[in-house]
Amino acid sequence: MSTSTAAPALRKTALNAVHRQLGAKMVDFGGWDMPVEYSGLIAEHMAVRTGVGLFDVSHMGDIQLRGPESLDAIQHICMNDAAKLQVGQAQYSAMLYPQGTFVDDVIVHKFSDNDYLIVINAGTREKDFGWAKGNAQKFHCHVSDYSDYYTQLAIQGPKAAETLQKLTNVDLSTIKFYWFKWGTVCGLPNTLIARTGYTGEDGFEIYIPSDETTSKRVWDEVLEAGKEFGIIPCGLGARNTLRLEAALSLYGHEISETINVFEAGLDRFCKVEKGPFIGSEALQRVIAEGGPTRKLVGLEVIERGIARDGYCVFNEGGTQIGEVVSGSPAPFLKKNIALAFVPRDHAALDSEVFVQIRNTMVRAKVVPIPFYRRPKKQS
């Protein structure tokens, strides 16, 4: 078998040295030198599902949009209805191209009527910032790139709240899912605490100053606070398997500049009724023409084999009908799962398809997504 060596001159978060000291295996993720795993992908995945895990997600970007016409600007650029947001509330949304396909998926946070934070993906930082700034120009608002000001930590799992509660004066039970507050965290005043995440579990993302000293201190304090719950640092490997079990989209896979909102199954975050926005006209045409011709479905591999990104999907007759965009073993579910685009008429639940895994056609069936839903809280 073959192994590979690291790439040169990658961007680093403030915790890069900490990850390396912890013995993390590092990988190039969208131009960033990031930890892919520390103690082991499966252990990290299971820690998040059963206890708590800690992620450095500082590579993600942050756009601050401020001014009297901020809401109008956001409504124009993003597909969800930001007018529904209250102060302290966040929503999953996306910026679309005029043809109704994805620039990126985002989380929009309403700080106030004239102040919004948009959190964006690492690999699309510059593209997103340019897109937002360019398209917001006709509104009275100011668009700033705040990405480098923050170290962003994600504390995720059923024990995330108990862990973080030790470190903050904010009563975390007053922050509902997809809401946020500011409070003192690890002695740092006015720190943004958002009940958001990308794992399908309860959890928080905290935004702290990005200097190395502060970042390391807070990282260590979170690990200490979570020790009794079995907290471990978690890398991008587990981040991917966690989000896959929860059927959350990853840019370049389930969403991209060639995939539209309906194909991706993200209709519920797209409020065409709010009025025109970039991409709304094209999407209305898709509806008028009878809907998307292909759809994103969940697959469970039912014969022996692992379906992976890029593998081709075939019908019973041996014709290729689509492709897997994300596929992997699911460590918690103990199944091999995948998200794939197939034609509309193959998208019904229990439909059987074949995934080509090297030289073998392996049977898979269409199953409901998300594959995993966290248990209802018994509090």
């Binding site: 078998m1 192994t3 060596t5 992908l41 084999g305 692992i306 073993p329 460590p331």
Partner: protein, 129 residues
């Protein structure tokens, strides 16, 4: 981790333990560590022909697929069935979790494989230590 002195090794990180005309083959501790949690092993069938330097199967971690290259030419006489249900044995005991046994058609091939010392030197160079 010590590399057994009586095994021979390849640059593709397979090991072979030779006993007369039979060789027992697996992947090294260095390999399992690079791969991460192993979840799937694709082994050849008993009776299959294998050729030195050619792919005989694959090992999959959660993240990736890795081809396995045979250190020797011969015929597969036995396959480790345990790995179908407990592939993680390769992670915990790489030098015991053999994947296949081969009847060697040319035992002299083993002489050109790396010794434990040479293999350790090779991986030290690969990791830049």
């Amino acid at each position: 981790m010590a590399y057994p002195a009586n095994y021979r090794y390849t640059r593709e990180h397979e090991w072979i333990e030779v006993d007369g005309k039979t060789g027992k083959i697996g992947i090294t501790d260095y390999a399992q560590n690079s791969l991460g949690d192993i979840v799937f092993v694709e082994s050849p069938k008993v009776g299959a022909a294998v050729k030195k330097g050619e792919v005989f199967g694959s090992v999959e971690s959660v993240k990736a697929v890795s081809d396995l290259y045979s250190p020797v030419t011969g015929t597969v006489t036995e396959v480790n069935e345990e790995l179908a249900s407990t592939p993680e044995k390769i992670n915990t005991a790489a030098h015991e979790a053999w994947i296949m046994k081969v009847e060697l058609s040319d035992p002299a091939e083993v002489d050109s494989l790396l010794s434990a010392a040479d293999y350790e030197k090779f991986i030290a160079e690969e990791t830049g230590h």
